[in-house]
Every structure is written in structure tokens, then in C-alpha cells.
């Protein structure tokens, strides 16, 4: 029986419901020293001096280190595969501790102490002398002449600018009779808010440094720690235990380099860095705030004649993933709604905000908000139903993108929209809500997205896998792809059991913990790539192991390997299915054979040179209380075509989480900064409005399972897609409910109050 498409319980589920699962903090040695970081309390400044006299006098303080003590070379932090092409390497623009303070919260010193309290007191006792400089928080303002210069090497603070031109936009818009739909759309700075903060600990053993870290990308972090410390990469061992969520924040080297370096400064004693929640918000990574300007020109038949997209992506203080996000966002437009004449420009701009990096969706939640808001405005301009307008203009079946090599094999968009519309009763509700008065108003909205699977051809895609046949006939498997809560290990076990012919996915023991000394090289969890890329190496390695097993079996069964197969853990003769021997018997015999002992193992790497389109849509139904300036989502449906499902229950759960994140992005989340000082205002879970379970309707997830032809298991991206289209669906539902098109997220009461007032919907007299 197939092991695929079955909602098996998570393999780590038992430990997680009993509280036994060990996260990094549960593994810290009791003698570890505490490292606390002194964060700058200026948005832009040069550190002139740090007086540590008082801190050093505190009992328990072991050492104070500052930006004057660190190696003087910069390093990159993005969780990208290394590139042998220097032009394609990540920007190296930060040091372990920085004299040039570029945002409020920058790391300028550490106190290492025997107790947490002594470290905290030590940080409070540091006296810092700053030379203050003007700062800038807005990306476009940072490009203006005379704006504060944040990094010397980047004039006008432009980290990168890319553009594309297709057809002839300028001529196309001269055609008489076109309707112009123009808008400015803006998304805020938000944070991942995984419930486990990032943290790590480091110790030295036999002259090498081991870092145990809450990370999504152990192998990449090894390289970055090596670069930051100026040590051979093989001197570094990174161990990734279970982690309490990541969502892209931990797809960056966060404090592993600093932790490793602190360890070397205390003679290799174990040291720990535990981010507090307040630090997670500000001194880890955030999602890029992006401002879009879109001009769409429509023909009288409601097709798109020409389109121009400009965007300014707020990078914050350090490059991290940099322009990759803006590039992905701007490049989504020509594929989402193809048209003959397009111009696109994207600028990624340094500002004095926290560094922006990867966050679930990687530019697509922002792009989808702008694109799908503008598309609803287009539909309104043409007097058309928004879904009908999309069906007319959206990427058609058979569309091929020559850069990624992706093909829209099926008519996924239209299938997803049709299914979603039926589930939420779109047409009837659209009609029912079309003429409303009174204070409570309802609306229904739709939005779509597409998403790439993995990062080919922009970066290397590789996956390695190792399988060992155990003496009981089970298989132990190691993957470089990481379990970060999404359920990857369970899906991998199902995939391997299927490929090997084992009786159950429970017969595959996935080594969940990645250890760069032991685990075959892999890149980690990002780009919604896990099941797709791991699929190639799991299938390939399983075939190798199977071949070895059958070759060995030949000596015992005298059957040709070509005549045998493994079914439910038993070697059988293909022709009649008769059982020849069990895998346990084979493994025991092979291991303890006095003449020809063999531990049957297989290992392989696979270079993936494919990508795959993942599609989907969100439908949101909202109720707006005009007088209270509140919008509430009362129903939400997401439909995804992510190919074949390996584990439907886990897939559904992934979608719920993404929808929740999209609701927060749409309605409530925003990291705020004081305009006068650049200080973050709400970097805690009380003032940052993450949705609670009282802020959600029931979340409904559904699928169209069109098998992906390029994937050995028919799968494609699902991790990030659910976070992409929810916010614009909510925006478009509010538009239907109130007639007010709001182009800046979040759609919280402050924004609704301003917009409803402007629209004359509310008044107090």
C-alpha cells in the first residue's frame, strides 16, 4: 500500500505532547556562561567609547567585550548557499559588534558572566559615549540627496536596483481608449514571532568550536561562523536540535557567530546567548516593508495593455537577504498577470531600521498585497466582478517562464478559484453584500498568488541523503533538510518508506537533529523547498540502498536483483510476489556474515536543476463595524495547488498557520518606530498585535492536487504560500463592504478611522 497521501501522525508528535522534545535551551550545559548583548540606544551613531569599569566590578562578571575588540572584517549573514561567483555572494556588511551603530538595537558590546543576572546587571552598568548622527527610517527618503549615509560603499543607500523592460510600455500607453488604474500600496515592518526565541550555545572541544543553535540552516551557519571568525569552516561544528519555529528569521546567521567568538574569548568554556523577546523583535530580522507604485492600463475589453511596477524595499541597517526579496517581488508581476508591455523597477534601500531578512513568503506577501489590491481596483474600474477579471487576465495554462523553466502545466489558478468560490459561496455573497447601509457591513474578497519552489536557478539547489539499513530491517535516514515544526521529518519518512518498499513510515528513523560533522550536506529549511528537493535525494538514495540490498540478497536467494523487489519490508520475487526473505534476516545475515560482512548503507547528493510553480488563492469574508473602525474576518478559505500531498493533515495544518500569519499581516501586525529617535516602540508580544485565537474565524484549507511533473513525488511549494494572499483578500473584502480601498497595511482601527473619516463614513455629530 502506498505510504503517500496519508495523514500519518507526526513522528515527533509523542515527544512534543509529553514535553520531552529538547530544544537548544534544554541542552545547555549547566556550567555555561551567560552572554548578554549591549544594544545601541541610538538609531545612527558612532561609538566613541565604552566604559566597562562598573560592569566589571559586578560579582560574577567574567569579561566585557566591545566593538573595539572584534575582528575588523565584515561578514554576510544571509542563509543562502555559498556561491563560487564573487558577484553573486551575499553582501558582507556587519561585524560581530559594530562601532558604527546603524539602528536602535545594534550590537555594540557583550557582558559574559557566571549568572544571567550578573550579565544583565553588567549590560545595564556599561556607559557608552556616542557621536550621534542623523537617521532615516523611510526607504525613499534614504535615497534623497543629503540623506544620512548608512554604509560607505553604497551611495544614496541603494543596496541594489534591478529592472526589466518587456515590449514598449511608453508607446503602448498612448493607445486611445485605455483606462488607467494607478495606486501606491504599502506594507509594514513585521516580525516572525516564532514562540521560541533564537538562542544558541558554544563550546570548544579538541580545538574546534561547536555551536548548538536554534537555526533552520546548520550547514550554512557553519560557513558563516567560519567567515566571521576567520577560521577554516571545518573548524566549526553546528548542531541543530528541535526548534520552536523559524519562519525565515532563523534562515540567517543570527547570534551563532558572536556566540562562537565569545567562546574563544573565554578559553573555550561553554557560553550561551539567549535572545529575549524584545531582542527577537529588533535585533534579529524582520520582514521588509515595501512601498509599491503600480500603473495598469486596461483595454476596453478589460485585458491589460501595459503595466508599470516600481517598488522600494526597506532593507534596514544590514543587507541580510538584501535585494533577493525585492527582486522576487517585482519579478512576480509579469508572470502573475502576463501582458505585452511591462516595466519593473525595484530598489532595495538601507535605512536605520532593524535588518530585514527572509520571512515566510520572501517578498510575495508584499507583492501579492500590492498586485491583488491593484487588480481589484482594475476590476472596479471596469465594473467587473473581481474574480471574473482575474480569470480573464491571470497566468494562462501552458504559460512558460524561460528563466526558471517553470511551466503552468494545469489550469491551477482557475481550478483553485473555482473551488474556493464554491466553498465560501462567493457569487451569492458577492451579490448579497453589493448594496448595504447601516453600521455593520459585510464584504467578500479574493486574492491569488504564485510561488516558486526552491531557489533554482538563482542559487544552488542541492540535497544529500544517507540511509543505513538497521539490523531489524528498519532504515535510519539523515537529511540536510531541517524539521522546524512544519512536519518535514514525517513527510520524509513517508517518502523514504515508499521508495524503499518498507511496511510503514515508522520503519524509517529520521535523525531529526542535524550535526554538520555527521549529517550529509544540505541547505536547510527555506524557500518552501523541503519536500521538493529532499524528494530527489531520498528517491535516489533509496534506489541505491535498494540496489545494494537486492545485490546482497542475490547471494542468499540466488535470484537476479532484476527479478526481485521489496514490498512491505520483504524481499519478494517480482513475477509471483512470493516472499524470499525479510529485510531483518537479510540485514542480520549481511552484518554477521563471517566471510562477507557488510553494513548496507547508501549516500548520495542530487543537484536539482528544476523549479516548479505553486499556486493558490484566498477568499475572505469580513464584517466591518464602521463606528468602531474594526474589521473582523468571519470566514476564510485558502485553496492551494501544491502538487500531490504527502501528508494531507500536515499540509492542512501548514495552511492554517500561513492563513493566521496573513490575517495578522492584514489586520494588526506592525512594528512601530519613534519618528523622533528611531527607537522601536512595541517590541513585545503585548504591544505587537499578533493574532490570538479570539482574532480568527475557523480557518478552512483546501487543495487541488495536480501532480508536479518535475518532482519525483509530484510535490511543490507549500510552506510559504499560505501566507501570501490572505491580506489582499481581506483588503478587497473591506473594499466591497465599505467602498473604501485601503492601500496600506495593516488595516487596523487607526487606519480604518483615518480612511473612513476621509470617505465620510463616520462622523461624531
Amino acid at each position: 500500500m502506498s505510504k503517500l497521501g496519508i495523514s500519518e501522525p507526526r513522528i515527533d508528535g509523542y515527544d512534543k505532547v509529553t514535553g520531552r522534545t529538547k530544544y537548544y535551551e534544554d541542552r545547555v550545559p549547566p556550567d555555561a556562561l551567560y552572554v548578554r548583548i549591549k544594544h545601541a540606544e541610538r538609531a545612527h551613531a558612532i561609538v566613541r567609547a565604552i566604559d566597562s569599569t562598573k560592569a566589571e566590578a559586578i560579582p560574577g562578571v567574567v569579561k566585557v567585550l566591545s566593538c573595539f575588540d572584534v575582528p575588523d572584517w565584515p561578514f554576510p549573514t544571509a542563509g543562502h548557499p555559498w556561491s563560487m561567483d564573487p558577484g553573486h555572494q551575499d553582501v558582507a556588511d556587519r561585524q560581530l559588534l559594530n562601532r558604527h551603530v546603524r539602528y536602535w538595537g545594534d550590537d555594540i558590546a557583550v557582558v559574559i558572566a557566571e549568572t544571567e543576572l550578573a550579565a544583565v546587571q553588567g549590560v545595564r552598568a556599561l556607559e557608552v559615549e556616542y557621536e550621534e548622527m542623523p537617521f532615516v527610517l523611510d526607504a525613499q527618503k534614504a535615497m534623497e540627496p543629503g540623506a544620512p549615509q548608512i554604509h560607505e560603499r553604497f551611495p544614496s543607500n541603494i543596496l541594489k536596483h534591478t529592472s526589466y523592460r518587456k515590449g514598449d510600455y511608453q508607446s503602448a500607453i498612448q493607445t486611445p481608449g485605455l483606462v488607467k488604474v494607478e495606486g501606491w500600496y504599502e506594507t509594514p515592518t513585521v516580525q516572525h514571532c516564532h514562540i521560541e526565541n533564537h538562542g544558541c550555545f558554544a563550546y570548544m572541544e579538541n580545538g574546534r568550536i561547536t555551536v548548538v543553535s536554534s537555526t533552520q540552516i546548520p550547514h550554512i551557519v557553519r560557513r558563516i561562523v567560519g567567515q566571521a571568525l576567520g577560521r577554516p569552516w571545518a573548524d566549526i561544528q553546528i548542531i541543530k536540535p528541535y526548534i520552536g519555529g523559524g519562519f525565515g528569521n532563523k534562515q540567517d546567521a543570527l547570534y551563532e557567530p558572536l556566540c562562537a567568538w565569545c567562546c574563544t574569548q573565554v578559553g573555550g568554556r561553554p557560553v550561551r546567548i539567549d535572545c529575549a523577546r524584545e531582542e527577537t523583535f529588533v535585533s534579529n530580522r524582520v520582514r521588509h516593508a515595501i512601498r509599491f507604485h503600480i500603473v495598469t492600463w486596461l483595454r476596453p475589453n478589460a485585458t491589460i495593455a501595459a503595466r508599470k511596477v516600481e517598488l522600494w524595499s526597506n532593507q534596514g541597517a544590514y543587507a541580510s537577504h538584501g535585494h533577493s526579496i525585492a527582486a522576487k517581488a517585482v519579478n512576480s508581476f509579469p508572470q502573475h498577470y502576463p501582458c505585452d508591455n511591462m516595466e519593473g523597477d525595484a530598489w532595495t534601500v538601507y535605512t536605520n531600521r532593524p535588518a530585514a531578512g527572509a520571512m515566510r513568503g520572501y517578498g510575495m506577501p508584499q507583492a501579492s498585497f500590492a498586485d491583488e489590491s491593484n487588480i481589484d481596483d482594475c476590476a472596479a474600474a471596469m465594473g467587473m466582478d473581481p474574480m471574473e477579471f482575474r480569470q480573464l487576465n491571470i497566468m494562462p495554462q501552458g504559460f512558460h517562464d524561460s528563466f526558471s523553466g517553470n511551466t503552468n502545466y494545469y489550469d491551477s489558478y482557475r481550478e483553485c478559484m473555482a473551488k474556493g468560490a464554491a466553498l465560501i459561496d462567493y457569487a451569492r455573497k458577492r451579490e448579497e453584500y453589493s448594496h448595504q447601509s447601516g453600521n455593520l457591513r459585510r464584504g467578500i474578497g479574493v486574492a491569488t498568488f504564485w510561488y516558486n519552489t526552491a531557489v533554482y536557478p538563482i542559487s544552488l539547489e542541492t540535497s544529500s541523503n544517507r540511509m543505513l539499513l538497521n539490523l531489524d530491517g528498519t532504515v535510519t535516514m539523515q537529511c540536510g533538510e531541517t524539521e522546524i515544526g512544519q512536519g518535514a521529518d514525517t513527510a520524509f519518512a513517508q517518502m523514504a518508506a515508499e521508495a524503499l518498499g518498507l511496511a510503514s513510515y515508522r520503519d524509517v528513523h529520521v535523525v531529526s537533529c542535524q550535526d554538520t560533522d555527521i549529517t550529509p550536506t544540505g541547505l536547510g529549511a527555506y524557500a518552501s523547498r523541503q519536500t521538493y528537493v529532499a524528494g530527489f535525494s531520498i528517491r535516489q538514495t533509496a534506489e541505491l540502498l535498494k540496489e545494494k540490498i537486492l545485490n546482497y540478497a542475490q547471494s542468499l536467494t540466488r535470484q537476479s536483483p532484476a527479478c526481485m523487489d521489496i514490498v512491505d519490508g520483504v524481499i519478494v520475487r517480482k513475477t509471483d510476489g512470493s516472499a524470499l526473505m525479510g529485510l531483518q534476516e537479510l540485514a542480520m545475515t549481511a552484518q554477521y556474515n563471517p566471510v562477507h560482512s557488510e553494513h548496507l548503507t547508501a549516500e548520495s547528493s542530487y543537484t536539482i536543476r528544476n523549479n516548479a510553480y505553486s499556486f493558490g488563492c484566498s477568499f475572505a469574508e469580513v464584517e466591518v463595524d464602521l463606528a468602531l473602525c474594526k474589521a473582523q474576518v468571519i470566514r476564510m478559505v485558502n485553496v492551494h495547488d501544491c502538487g500531490s500531498l504527502i501528508n494531507p493533515a500536515l499540509a492542512e495544518a501548514q495552511v492554517h498557520g500561513g492563513m493566521s500569519m496573513a490575517i495578522g499581516f492584514g489586520l494588526s501586525e506592525q512594528l512601530l518606530f519613534d519618528e523622533k529617535t528611531g527607537r522601536p516602540l512595541n517590541n513585545n508580544l503585548l504591544d505587537y498585535k499578533l493574532s490570538t485565537c479570539m482574532d480568527h474565524p475557523n480557518l478552512e484549507a483546501s487543495f487541488i492536487e495536480n501532480p508536479e511533473p518535475s518532482s519525483p513525488y509530484g510535490t511543490k511549494a507549500l510552506g510559504e504560500p499560505p501566507a501570501c494572499s490572505g491580506a489582499p483578500a481581506i483588503r478587497n473584502a473591506i473594499l466591497q463592504a465599505t467602498g473604501v480601498a485601503i492601500d496600506q497595511l495593516p488595516l487596523n482601527p487607526h487606519r480604518l478611522f483615518a480612511e473612513f473619516t476621509k470617505a465620510g463614513l463616520i462622523h461624531d455629530s
Binding site: P9, D12, V17, G19, C193, I195, N698
Partner: protein, 164 residues
Amino acid sequence: MSQYKLVHCNINGRDVEKMVDVRASLTDMLRNDFRLLSVKKGCEVGECGACNVLIDGEAFNACIYLAVWAEGKHIRTLEGLTGPNGELSDIQQAFLDETAVQCGFCTPGFIMTAVEILETGKLYTDDELRKLLSGHLCRCTGYENILRAVKKTMYRRLGKQIDF
């Protein structure tokens, strides 16, 4: 100058006594002195619910509860729910069955609040359940399957047919 106090309490059914630093939170005591590592630290200011434990039957965030206040109290953590041979309680099993677990970091706190809810023996509406569970933040699940797990267990314990 450190100050200590001898605290007597009952943790997961066992009477214990421990000399604790008066500056310690209950989270510090449970994690460091008793190695009850299901008590997680997500914010340390009572906003995320990851360190939630039951004290005399009511849910408390252990991070903002002084360890010395444990004197004379009955404290339960997730470790106390599992049977001597590793048997899961109904609510733990429901979290597994309903795919209510992803990264697992909020799970112990959520389950302990669910225990408080279930032990009232009352039948709550969906809205009431959402309110009762609203002291826990989760970024993975959108709360959907967590609500389902608690609701199903509540109906099962009351011997009632579920209405969804």
C-alpha cells in the same frame, strides 16, 4: 547577597522541598531545580503562555510567579500528565490525532490550560473555548487544530455527540 528560602510543595503528585533563591521565578525553579523542561520560555513577561502550569488547579504563567509562592501549592506540569508507562492522557492524544502540534514549543502550555478547561466538566461554546485559550500565542497552527483537539476531548469526556 543571595537570599534563600526552603519551599515545600507538591509537584506532579510528589511532595518535594527545595531551597530556592528568592529571586527565582517558578519557571527557574521548575526548569533548573526539577528539570521539568516542558515549561518553556517564550517571553518571560506573561504574554505568550509557553510556561503555563497549573497551580491548585488554575493556569498560571510560571515566568511571572515567584518560586517562593509555591509554598504549600499543588503544581502540575505537562510531565505529570503522562502515565508511568508513557501512556498519553486523552488531551495529549487529541493533540496528536488532530495535528495540533507543529514546532511544539507552545504545546505544553496549551495542554495545561486545556486540562484546566476540561476539569471544570462544563460544555463550552466555540467562542468560550477561544476565550479560555486566548492566553497562549502560537505562530504555527493558526489555533485551528488546537481548538479542535480541546473541543473533541471536551465532548468525549462529557459523553456528548460533537456538532461539527
